[in-house]
Symmetry: C2
Subunit: 145 residues, 2 copies
């Protein structure tokens, strides 16, 4: 079950890492993140460029440069990131891949899947990077194998 692409998975892990560095101020370099989380630097850079272009991150070049969240981590939710990296129709896909599957022309698993998606969307809508970052800071949860 691969719900999120690698790009999204890496992006999310990296953002939660940033949120977990609570007392830190200023920019965090992509190099640091990729090292700490064991993610390909170049691949992460591309994902971060997308996030920067869509207003999730701001970046700054040069020494002591890096990336920073554009908003406090408690105002950035999983849905925001997923919408940028997976598309705004992320929570609107038929389990059987039928285009236009909906109440008026449902596939046989539509009712169940609609409820499952709603539960997931609800969780994504209400889970902030801050919340996940705290879990990591407070040590019971991990971001790396």
């Amino acid at each position: 079950m691969r719900v999120l692409s690698k790009a999204t998975v890496y992006g999310l892990r990296a953002l939660v890492y940033m949120a977990s560095e609570r007392e830190r101020t200023g920019y965090v370099s992509i190099g640091e993140i990729s090292e700490r989380l064991n993610i390909s630097f170049h691949f992460l850079t591309k994902t971060f460029q997308t996030l920067t272009q869509h207003g999730i991150l701001e970046s700054y070049r040069g020494p002591n440069g890096g990336v920073a969240l554009t908003k406090p981590a408690d105002q950035l939710f999983l849905t925001d990131i997923v919408h940028v990296l997976e598309g705004v129709d992320f929570f609107d896909k038929c389990l059987l891949g039928l285009p236009g599957c909906g109440t008026f022309a449902p596939c046989p698993v539509h009712d169940f899947w609609k409820a499952a998606k709603e539960a997931m969307k609800n969780e994504f809508d209400n889970t902030s990077l801050a919340e996940l970052g705290e879990k990591v800071t407070d040590e019971r949860f991990r971001l790396v194998a």
Copy 2:
């Protein structure tokens, strides 16, 4: 959100179609299914070969040949098909892609995702091809765009 591969999606649609042809006896040809559901014949054939090799389908060559469910459709559940086409670890994947993510070493979204997966697994465990086939036969639900 792409939970199932195309191979699985096509396989499931095709199996539900077979289950929906209630009064039919004997083998159904892959050609018929691929035409009716608008699925690539060769691609579906490969997926069906996998299902045959794993005991979900039996096949028979020659005129009036085709494939047939090895069990009554009310004894074949979504989990059975998904286990064959996606792997037995389908319901055991970390949302953030961390290997070995579990109670003892969870990622920050582990608790939520565990519950979401369990709900999905429960539904897959208890939804038979017969049930879905009936929905299609009884006309309110569709298998094709």
